[in-house]
């Protein structure tokens, strides 16, 4: 019952978000601000995570292969496959849900409890569109870039770990990451990323927009934004994988 109510209201909010903006110039400016806040400012954490994840994947793969029948270049191959298929699109999106989702819910939620959304509505502004649309567009556009950067850095992290620890030589690693490369896998990853970006922004905005009460509830909304975004991402990840890879 409750779930149906939320789903209905969520889609209604999305419809309002995507109705025609009153001033394109203002929306454009807001979108650029959001690209900076939600995208560029996430670059650091994405880079850090990617390098270390790639490094760990490489070391673990190598230490788990003890059969002499499996050639060493498989280490590079595995690092590339897990990075492109799962680590960069999904794990990075989950991390972004934590960072970006909580920011969005807290920001919109505090505007709600401090009557600023009412103030927008009173002026005759489409508050959902004005507040949410620039965030959705910003993330849908910028997250694929973040994920591509993450792919490179993760594979590079693997290279570093492999060569520095002497587990696998640079030459063999590079041979591995070029083996059986399927460009479609990158497309698949980017489709996932775009869908996840949409989920993160809209689910979090929904939590913020319908916050009731005070600062305590803003905190609760912010937590919910992350949890629900994560759950929906994981479900969609499963569905999309079945749809796109089988």
């Amino acid at each position: 019952m409750d779930l149906l109510f939320h789903i209905g209201r969520y889609f209604q909010l999305i419809r309002e978000t995507f109705t025609r903006p009153e001033r394109f110039g203002l929306y454009w400016k807001r979108t650029l601000e959001e690209v900076d806040l939600l995208g560029v400012k996430s670059l650091g954490i994405v880079a850090l995570l990617s390098v270390f994840m790639g490094a760990v994947i490489t070391i673990q793969t190598k230490t788990n292969i003890d059969s002499p029948l499996i050639p060493l270049y498989v280490v590079g191959f595995t690092a590339r496959q897990s990075t492109i298929l799962e680590f960069s699109p999904t794990i990075i999106s989950l991390i972004l849900a934590g960072k970006v989702g909580s920011t969005i819910a807290a920001q919109i939620g505090s505007m709600r409890v401090r009557e600023q959304i009412d103030a927008l509505d009173i002026m005759g502004v489409n508050s959902a569109g004005y507040l949410i649309l620039p965030k959705v567009i910003a993330c849908v556009v910028i997250n694929p870039f973040l994920v591509v950067i993450s792919m490179f850095l993760s594979i590079f992290g693997g290279y570093l770990a492999g060569t520095l620890s002497g587990l696998v030589s640079g030459e063999v690693y590079l041979q591995g990451i070029q083996t059986d490369f399927t460009p479609y896998h990158v497309t698949y990853a980017l489709i996932k990323t775009v869908v996840f970006a949409f989920i993160i922004t809209t689910v979090s905005a929904y939590q913020g927009y319908y916050t009731q009460g005070g600062t305590r509830e803003v905190g609760i909304s912010s937590t919910r934004a992350v949890v629900y975004s994560d759950v929906v991402i994981l479900i969609m990840n499963y569905l999309l994988t079945q749809l796109l890879l089988i």
Partner: protein
Amino acid sequence: MIEVRGLSKRFGRTQVLTDINAVFQKGKVNQVIGKSGSGKSVLCKCIVGLFEPEEGEVLYDGRSFHNLELEQKRQVRQEIGMLFQSSALFDSLTVLENVLFPLRMFGTMDEAGMLDRAHLCLKRVNIEGKDRLFPSEISGGMQKRVGIARAIAMNPRYLFVDEPNSGLDPQTSILIDNLIDELTAEYDMTTIMITHDMNSVMEAGDNILFIHEGRAWWKGSREELLRSDNKELNDFIFASGLMRKVKDAMKR
């Protein structure tokens, strides 16, 4: 003129407003008074359509608000200026940008014209040289005044002010009252002012509505108010010793 007919509102099981009927006149400051929690802010939000009342209707110069489509509602809303009890300034925008906001959103002026208009409104509320500060960097009284400047930026036909002088010193408070009076007369607006400041009631109250437990308990002018023998109204008005003295003086 704004007319409220048979308006009722509840939240879950709590009935907050019951069958409110009232007429708010044009060119006047119409006051709504009542105890804390009596439902004044909720009434105000029902009138502007932020809350959907269960029953009743609101007429803006004859236009029934609740029957309008969302788009038409937004049109009417562009004729409304509102100061919220919490000021509700956008805290990511500076003082100047706050006042510019409605102009940029709906105005037809060029950038220079908008800036002029925003500065004029800020000057009108005695705020100058604070353009670049953020709402968190100015005092509560200044926030209220910036809120008023933002509310009047678009030359509204209807002005709502929710407790413009709560928490302000008497001097600033009088300044704001006078300002609202002047603006109302100047632009011939229909102004609805929520207050529990007896000073403002005594200054400006021609058309006073007393809300008690969510009902329109009493209506009248300030002279009638002082003479009224309505018990709840008297309890509210003469809670302070000063007001009792005023009443005694009037009797003599």
